[in-house]
């Protein structure tokens, strides 16, 4: 008997997801975005199966080879297979994008829910600190942090993650303010729930929709920011196969071998496009006001 009851609880949770999925499915652009994103994830996971060559092995006899059957996207100045490098680049981009967003999300949830729940001076201190962070242009902030910490994938994630925290904090705070006015928060206080319990079990779980949307959208902007950092020579360092650093490395040869920038550029564009479409669709699907 208890088993059946547990199962039905599981089913209900699935039903909620099913509803979101149903309304997402109606949005064709969002589904297209989701497909692009899933494709990217699959490419990243199966990079070693898909890539025909080692992305780091030089072939100096075969530099600047135009796209052909042997080298789909051509080869670069070191004779490395561009296609393999783009495929491997998906791993880095995805890693940076997702880790950065998770970092921002966790930081934002902690700071935003504290600010929103406690209000008054606590809120003022946290939100004004976030305003200060937001006043600094994102790239500049990331550059300064990287200048202190040094380059590399880990530090890129950290730098971009710190930069993402203020935006998440704002989103979480506004969601928390909306949830806090509900009587069930007062009811939780009346039964003696601690502030920690109220924040985690009552407030955050009821503010998840905008947080999820913000996280999805942030993956795209983080990937873009990471490639920009690599392009200007901070961030991920060559010879690591990363789209931004590939663009940067190909910069001297744009005039003669335009395909060198074309494919990494297209990869970046497709990824951002897919994630943004999906994020937009997700926001519409999760927003109950837009439901028919």
């Amino acid at each position: 008997m208890p088993d059946i009851m547990e199962n039905s609880a599981e089913l209900k949770k699935q039903n909620q997801l099913l509803e979101v999925w149903k309304s997402l499915k109606k949005n064709r652009l969002a589904v297209f975005g989701l497909c692009l994103t899933i494709l990217l994830i699959l490419v990243a996971i199966f990079a070693d199966v898909i890539a025909p060559y080692d992305p780091y092995s030089n072939d100096l006899a075969n530099t600047f080879c135009y796209p052909c059957r042997a080298h789909l996207f051509g080869t670069d100045n070191m004779g490395r297979d561009q296609f393999s490098r783009v495929v491997y680049g998906a791993r880095i981009s995805l890693l940076v994008g997702i880790s950065t967003s998770l970092f921002g999300m966790i930081g934002g949830i902690i700071l935003g829910s504290i600010a929103g729940y406690y209000g008054s001076h606590t809120e003022t201190v946290i939100m004004r600190a976030m305003d200060i962070f937001m006043a600094i242009p994102g790239t500049l902030l990331a550059m300064s942090i990287m200048a202190v910490l040094g380059q590399g994938v880990g530090n890129t994630i950290l730098a971009l993650g710190i930069g993402a925290v203020p935006r998440f904090t704002r989103v979480v705070r506004s969601a928390v303010l909306g949830v806090k006015g509900n009587e069930y928060i007062e009811a939780a206080q009346a039964i003696g729930a601690s502030s920690f319990r109220i924040i985690t079990k009552y407030i955050v779980v009821n503010s998840l929709a905008p947080i999820i949307v913000q996280t999805t959208m942030n993956v795209a902007s983080a990937i873009l920011a990471a490639t920009s950092l690599s392009f200007i020579g901070l961030g991920v360092q060559p010879p690591t196969a990363e789209w931004g650093s590939m663009l940067s490395a190909a910069r001297p040869y744009i005039r003669d071998y335009g395909f060198l920038v074309l494919y990494p550029g297209l990869a970046i564009m497709a990824t951002i496009f897919g994630l943004n479409l999906f994020g937009d669709g997700l926001r519409d699907a999760l927003d109950p006001r837009l439901k028919n």
Binding site: E186, A188, I191, G192, R197, V205
Partner: protein, 329 residues
């Protein structure tokens, strides 16, 4: 016998941009164990605030609260945690007072977990089922989410949650005003049954006069943060001393086509509770206000045995209001 709950000179002021809002202003009363005190008044008269201050959901500005003879006006975190077991609240809106992300079972179980009432999860589950039976919720609904249930069932969840800690005293903050009439009766009967079985004491806050008459032993009428009249339920409906109570009760429709009852229409709007002047707060709308009403606030006095009224002219008016009542029809 000492009353279960006693409130003396309770005040709750809120700071606002334009001044001090007197939500509850110098309210005193006591409730005997096992009885119900009804609090009536129009929107914004501070009746909900009063209930929340007693439960320490809001901190009182001034005054004293005694529970079982113990002063609980200022309590520390630990004392408050213990106090929560004895004093509970049922909210007005069953749609917003329960967490939409928890199942029925989880909602009722929550207070038991927080207060560590049972050692094993099995005992706790057993207690949850017991509570669901008590309030008339089918056990099969245990894993349902609130949005799948109707208002009456949701309010039953609210009642079960309030009961779970075995409280002695419950503030019912308009528990039926969001429900439709047939469901109202069910919930009220449930509350009355529970009172009989468990010896509960209620403060029943409402603006529905027929409900309050049905359920209360004593009734307090509030106007702009103050208690203007308080007596037992039967006396209040028979013999009102305060002009406001009189006007309020004259608004009850009588289902009789031949009964031409005189409705007392009050002029104007309720005046602002922000920095009120030192005068009878009802005087601006009162048909009987005179010079002395504008000078100083009237005290709540025992006009007749166990009949309290805060009006300076109650004696003069007692006869007059009955005789030359045709104020406005």
């Amino acid at each position: 016998m000492a009353p279960l709950l006693e409130v003396k000179g309770l005040k709750k002021y809120f700071k606002t941009g334009s001044g001090l809002l007197h939500a509850v202003d110098d309210v005193s009363f006591s409730i005997e164990k096992g009885t119900t005190l009804g609090i009536v008044g129009e929107s914004g008269c501070g009746k909900s605030t009063l209930g929340r201050v007693i439960l320490h959901l809001l901190e009182p500005t001034d005054g004293q609260i005694f529970f079982e003879g113990r002063d609980i006006t200022r309590v520390n975190k630990k004392e408050l945690h213990e106090l929560r077991k004895d004093m509970q609240i049922i909210f007005q809106d069953p749609y917003s007072s329960i967490n939409p992300r928890m199942t029925v079972k989880e909602i009722i179980e929550e207070p038991l977990i927080i207060h560590n009432m049972y050692k094993s999860a099995d005992e706790r589950r057993h207690r949850v089922q017991e509570l669901m039976d008590t309030v008339g919720l089918a056990r099969r609904l245990g894993n349902a989410y609130p949005h799948e249930l109707d208002g009456g069932r949701r309010q039953r969840i609210g009642v079960a949650r309030a009961l779970s800690l075995n409280p002695k005293f419950i503030v019912c903050d308009e528990p039926v005003s969001a429900l439709d009439v047939s469901i109202q009766a069910q919930i009220i009967n449930l509350l009355q049954d529970l009172q009989r079985e468990l010896g509960l004491t209620y403060i029943f806050i409402t603006h529905d006069l027929s409900v309050v008459r049905h359920i209360s032993n004593e009734i307090g009428v509030m106007y702009l943060g103050q208690m203007v009249e308080k007596t037992n339920a039967r006396e209040l409906f028979k013999n009102q001393l305060h002009p406001y109570t009189k006007a309020l009760l004259s608004a009850i429709p009588v289902p009789d086509i031949h009964n031409k009852s005189k409705r007392i229409i009050l002029r104007g709007e309720i005046s602002t509770p922000i920095d009120p002047a030192d005068e009878c707060r009802f005087s601006v709308r009162c048909n009987h206000a005179c010079e002395q009403c504008r000078k100083g606030q009237p005290q709540l006095v025992e006009a007749e045995p166990n009949h309290f009224v805060a009006c300076k002219r109650w004696q003069e008016l007692k006869g007059r209001m009955e005789a030359d009542a045709p104020m406005e029809v």
